[in-house]
Symmetry: C2
């Protein structure tokens, strides 16, 4: 039976119910007002916990049994171990062995290493994933093969959903590079260091049961307590929570592509000439090759002018660490560490500060870090003539990426998308995005190797670039040029079936992904 | 109309309703099971907060107005500024000026500097205080002059009450020595440093509205964020939040009284000879003169044996700091800093770690720090033949002290009360405590200048002291000796009217304080 749909404020047809629960259609940026109170997880009591504080049980299986794992439960994990994660899959191996069915997996992100859970989606152990799905997992969803409907949220939207009780986590299984027997845990130390554990904060606070899995049990107190032991039910010690070289890359690298370097140069020039770059600027870039190049070029300008960036918000990389150490950046506020230099820095530099997405990104809190920031460098798979952005599907219609912090970051003062005009001869600028992830009113500037398009809403920026010599063009001109080179792209074709819902930062449904049309 | 009372599991007559809300009588240690979920404060939205993150308003009055201050609201404050606090009274000065009535003041503790609020209890601005009441405030309550019924909770019980929704804080007014415009705040820095802000954590997380008042506004990010800005509604900058020399004492001092020194020596000898003191021991003492002397004597034993204390839980003092710096203590976990050395240490020593009572003391969480601890040194105003303890009233029946962390600390492995046999010729050991604050089954040892009484339940300790040469006696013998010297004390006389309820750590009512009989 098809679910009833309505047209939301962005003109997209979205369901009023997802996985049997009422869903609120997107109402416009800043238009939805939440009602009621935050989610109230069960009140625990010290009666149920050992006086000596030792919560270690002998295996993950025992911990899951003690947590009462059963059909239909929601299990959360975090992605700080990235592609080196050895714990998330293990949870479902055990659940399958225990004969448990219809679980909801609620990861903060998934990676290629998680592709093996496809077999559990197939055999009914897992009903659905609510979280990012890249590569094969995304194809599985797009092919209409997942039993439940996927729900994609931004990193901040995930916190909002947990806090507001949209998603009730029954069991959080949180891998931790270091932990004491009470459950105080952190992201550094041991052989599986990932730097920070900020994505797990909401899970630990709101889940009914919390299991911490570590390969580095230390004496009380494990400090800093990124996960606080008084939220933790059980601690499990294993040989290895992750594969170190896949947890953090040995080193992040700036792009070597001449086109991407040109985009990065143009972006740095734009930031300088528009006057956005200034002493005390705040900025978030990212760990992609182009973003890193932009950070390096920006750093050169700052140094030349004798300016300093007040802080950068991580994902942190060796390039940010270098800026911090050389004094051209005051602080790194960090939600995740991408490379070894970043991990080392966060262990040793008091100006490299863990700043969980819980604090930076949750739209249902009393302010976000992102809206205070001057410069936000983001990517997109597609951008349309109204500056709307897509980050989850490709133009062929397949769900291939998660939202990450992208939607949250759109709230910065100047949102800049440096993107190539086309990828593999597929234009990036299109008439209308396949999937709407971010409304155009929040996207200020598109920078391509063949010109810069400024959102007409940003009259101030357009004015500031008058006479700058920069190649400012309309977005239509950029789109036309791409199509002259690559031809008009074929539109993806879909069946009616909704396979994934895309949530906005306030929990409303901004768009859906439908099943790819069977040939 | 008198409220209906029942006899609770401790044999005390307690009301089934307090201030119009249902109250649960004490059921015995570890017998009460909480039901339902944690309190769910209203869901906020970034829509209501400035994009630039600047929450500074021009005065505390404006902030209170914006928070919608009105009759009957519950206002919380913390006591980290101790007797130097300039903010708590100011809130009620403003409320009175605004004509607001029947407020509930919910401080984490009160100090003599708060005595001026008596006028607001008299004129109806404040209905009642739920929190500690020392000296004149306590007398005001004992004389039956407070309109509502006082509710006294331990520090951990206060967190439990907030978390469980027993107390719904409408507005938390949190003074902070350092704060940024977003509301991230900490206990160090500026002219009013108090070291840590751990008592304010629950207030910031669960209050509907949160105001941070600072005299030291710094650039974003204020770090470490003991109060997280995304819980904060408004920031107010004032000239002075406190009087520095009354916030932390220049220096804490060990007792000079020969009797107290004897008690301290006996306590140290008891710890050594009983085998409780060992390498890796964990301990909490306190900042009183006798406690400090015990800490010094214990430190000497540790050094002599080449042992080390794993950690001490603060209230921290220069004596703990010295142990930390000299290596005879591994860490200080700290809920409040009592003197200047402690404040300096927490700013500079990474092994001096803020550890909020939220994490250490809340009985409705997944374990407490206190139950893991080996040695807990506490005081009492009275102890009875069943080892029951009283810390809130004196033998004359007057309410003169708060509970502090005393009840929470009773959960440690070895609870030791070094007390003088009498104070001002009033015996400390009595037939039955005037007010029951802690059940005798949790109190292990009473150490007086004239002998040591061990709770008969602790057969292990009695055995361990055989042949030790220490003056072990029964508690009855100690009581009889005191009465031989001072005479049998007169029992306090009360009227029926209940003026204060004493909560146990699980939110149940363990006893009450009644109005002092009018002569």
């Amino acid at each position: 039976m098809a679910v009833r749909t309505v047209i939301n404020a962005a003109g997209r047809s979205v369901p009023v119910e997802i996985n049997g629960r009422k869903a609120v259609p997107f109402k416009g940026v800043g238009k939805h007002r939440p009602r009621g109170g935050k989610y109230s997880p069960p009140i625990p009591t010290c009666n149920d916990f050992p006086d000596d504080g030792n919560k270690v049980v002998k295996s993950l299986e025992e911990a899951l049994r003690k947590c009462g794992l059963r059909d239909g439960m929601t299990i959360s994990t975090h992605h700080h171990l990235r592609d080196g994660d050895l714990i998330s899959n293990k949870v479902f191996d055990l659940a399958s062995k225990m004969g448990v069915k219809d679980l909801v997996w609620f990861p903060s992100a998934s990676f290629p290493c998680n592709d093996p859970v496809i077999k559990y989606l197939e055999d009914g152990t897992i009903n659905r994933i609510e979280g990012s799905m890249n590569g094969p997992l995304g194809r599985f969803v797009s092919d209409g093969r997942m039993k439940g409907t996927a729900v994609l949220r931004s990193h901040g939207g995930r916190v909002q959903a947990i806090q507001d009780g949209e998603v009730k986590i029954d069991i959080a299984v949180l891998a931790a590079p270091t932990c004491d027997f009470f459950g105080n845990a952190k992201g550094t130390g041991g052989n599986s260091s990932c730097g920070v554990l900020g994505y797990a904060k909401a899970d630990s606070m709101y889940a009914s049961k919390v299991i911490v899995v570590t390969d580095n049990l230390v004496d009380v107190p494990c400090y800093p307590m990124e996960i606080e032991g008084n939220y933790v039910d059980y601690v499990v010690v294993v040989d290895k929570i992750g594969i170190p070289e896949k947890i953090v890359s040995g080193t992040t690298q700036i792009t070597k592509s001449p086109d991407r370097l040109l985009i990065a140069e143009l972006t740095a020039a734009f930031l300088e000439k528009s006057g956005i770059l200034k002493d005390g600027v705040t900025m978030q870039a990212g760990a992609g090759g182009t973003s890193l190049a932009i950070a390096v070029f920006v750093d050169e300008i700052l140094k030349k002018k004798g300016w300093k960036s007040k802080f950068g918000f991580g994902g942190s990389t060796k390039y940010m660490v270098k800026m911090l150490e050389e004094g051209s950046m005051g602080y790194i506020l960090d939600a995740q560490a991408f490379d070894l230099d970043a991990v080392r820095s966060i262990e040793n530099n008091p100006h490299h500060i863990p700043y969980p997405v819980f604090n930076a990104y949750n739209y249902h809190s009393k302010g976000n870090l992102t809206s205070m920031m001057d410069i936000m460098i983001l990517g997109a798979t597609e951008i349309d003539l109204n500056f709307n952005g897509n980050v989850v599907t490709h133009s062929d219609g397949y769900l291939l990426h998660g939202i990450g912090g992208w939607q949250n970051c759109l709230h910065a003062r100047n949102v800049i998308l440096p993107v190539p005009l086309f990828r593999d001869r597929i234009p990036v600028i299109v008439d209308e995005v396949t999937t709407l992830c971010g409304p155009g009113e929040l996207i200020d500037v598109i920078i391509t190797e063949r010109g810069i398009a400024i959102n007409p809403l940003r009259k101030d920026l357009i004015k500031s670039l008058k006479g700058s010599g920069l190649p400012v063009r309309t977005i239509k001109e950029l789109k036309d040029e791409a199509e002259r080179i690559c031809g008009k792209p074929r539109k993806a074709e879909f069946e009616d079936k909704i396979v994934a819902a895309i949530k906005w930062v306030d929990g409303t449904v901004i768009d859906v992904v439908r099943k790819i049309k069977t040939k």
